[in-house]
């Protein structure tokens, strides 16, 4: 397949000799130059993998509008909550395990009659009672704060933060602390080509000389993205949307390539000019805000949970 050598060979050739470079990509048997994509025709049917060895030299036409968008994802920071069925099943299984366990040789692990043994036996009896009682489906039942007596020299156990954060309670859609279990995606409100305010994923044009990956990087380093530590997963796009918008002429083709990136730290800093507003939303929260046609092209690239 295409290798770095092929790319180097391709890049090294000046424009005049591009045909010869195309031949460099050919296999021994193939020597027929491929037809160049003519703007205005219907797009060629997607080639099967066996045809990729044919020499091709496609170039984006002047009427083609090539843009990139970035799916900026904040991955889940919290583990998933177990459903009621899962919790019941886990407590059922732990009860069975308790029944099958060999007894612990406490005289080996603890000095007989010591304080530590007393604490351990008390906790063990508590666990035994919990296991063989009814499985309680209320997850908060066992989380009641109990006065824990500390042994001399023992540190206080660390205070754990609640899973439902302040941002969840206030429903602050700009905060990245909200919905720790879910995947959050960045949605930007900006002006589209018609001049209307639309909510969509961050988008930018690709100039003639640059590559799609560079366009994505440039977008993420723009003034609003400067305060975010991001990582683009791959040089390859994860999706494409080929819309036919009413304002386009018949021979204009639009390509919107999507790239996947992660945000590791920081926040969006809207400048109020190109970026009017932003939000960090889950998949089902994005759907009512965006255009339906846009959503139909984008929804399969996002994670459900």
């Amino acid at each position: 397949m295409f290798s770095r050598n092929a790319l180097r060979a391709f890049r090294a050739q000046p424009k005049v000799h591009r045909v010869h470079a195309a031949r460099a990509l050919a296999t021994a048997a193939e020597s027929v130059p491929a037809p160049v994509a003519v703007p205005g025709e219907a797009p060629a049917p997607t080639p099967a993998r066996s045809q990729w060895k044919k020499p091709v030299d496609n170039k984006r036409g002047e009427k083609d509008i090539v843009q990139t968008a970035v799916i900026l994802n904040r991955s889940p920071t919290l583990s998933r909550t177990a459903t009621a069925f899962e919790r019941a099943y886990y407590s059922y299984q732990s009860r069975i395990q308790r029944a099958l366990y060999n007894p612990l040789p406490t005289e080996f692990y603890f000095k007989p009659g010591s304080l530590l043994e007393g604490i351990f036996m008390k906790e063990e009896n508590e666990r035994e009672r919990k296991a063989f009682g009814r499985p309680n489906l209320n997850p908060n039942f066992y989380k009641k704060e109990k006065a824990v007596e500390l042994l001399p020299g023992q540190e206080e156990p660390p205070k754990l933060m609640p899973r439902i954060t302040e941002a969840d309670k206030k429903k602050d859609i700009k905060s990245l602390d909200r919905k720790g279990e879910r995947n959050l995606y960045l949605l930007i409100q900006g002006k589209d080509e018609a001049g209307e305010n639309v909510w969509r994923l961050p988008q930018s044009d690709v100039t003639e000389t640059e590559v799609l990956y560079d366009a994505v990087q440039r977008e993420l380093r723009s003034p609003y993205g400067f305060g975010m530590d991001t990582w683009v997963v791959s040089r390859k796009p994860v999706g494409v949307w080929r819309p036919t918008l009413p304002q386009d002429s018949a021979d204009t083709r639009r390509f919107l390539f999507f790239y996947k990136a992660h945000i590791l730290a920081g926040q969006v800093r809207p400048d109020g000019k190109s970026i009017l507003d932003f939000a960090w939303l889950t998949k089902e929260e994005i759907e009512p805000r965006v255009d339906q046609y846009y959503w139909s092209g984008v929804k399969d690239m996002l994670s459900d949970f």
């Binding site: 790319l7 496609n58 399969d300």
Partner: protein, 194 residues
């Protein structure tokens, strides 16, 4: 038989070939010869734990004799049929989750395939550039030249983020959120030491 022979027979010691059933009497517990400081009590505890007595009066921690497992299981599970129903319900639940995840992955993959094939048909240069394999061990000439010019925090920032590798800041999900929450005030000018 005559009684002398019977008494002789009774007096003969009973040979048993079930050596494992011989009762293990630990040295210190044997009747008349109880010596107080035979060995270090810790060593004694370890010996008793590794070789527990096989007198059948207590459950063995090594699992040699567990008579009450049946009774405990009966208390743990409602019935065999109920247990099997619960297991089947669980596998069904797992199957639903697996199928949903598989379907999501297939949809995403189809999107990726469609994107690459569209790019192939659109522009060869863009397609080839997208397919470039990034080797984290090799730096391109441009990167080497840029690195020479950088100093201090900027250089550390560029060094820490290796092209083609995952960044170390990608966090594994935890049960509870961090104490300070998300760092909304991150700035590229104050990167931590790599």
């Amino acid at each position: 038989m005559s009684t002398p022979l019977l008494t002789l027979r009774a007096a003969k010691p009973q040979l048993t070939f079930r050596a494992a059933q011989q009762s293990v009497r630990h040295a210190a517990s044997h009747g008349a010869f109880k010596e107080q400081a035979v060995s270090d009590p810790k060593v004694e505890t370890i010996r008793r734990t590794l070789y527990p007595s096989n007198l059948r009066n207590r459950e063995s921690p090594t699992g040699g004799w567990r008579p009450n497992v049946g009774r405990r299981l009966q208390r743990a599970i409602p019935s065999v049929q109920a247990h099997e129903t619960i297991e089947r319900a669980w596998f069904l639940h797992k199957r639903h989750i697996r199928r949903a995840r598989q379907a999501e992955i297939e949809r995403k993959f189809k999107c990726m395939e469609e994107a690459m094939e569209t790019l192939y048909g659109l522009d060869t240069r863009l397609y080839l550039e997208a397919n470039v394999e990034e080797d984290p061990r090799q730096k391109s000439q441009l990167e080497i030249d840029t690195l020479k010019a950088l100093k201090g925090a900027e250089r550390r920032a560029v060094d820490s983020r290796v092209r083609g590798l995952f960044p170390r800041e990608l966090r594994v999900p935890t049960d509870t959120p961090p104490k300070d929450g998300w760092n909304h005030e991150w700035s590229p000018l104050t990167r931590p030491l790599s």
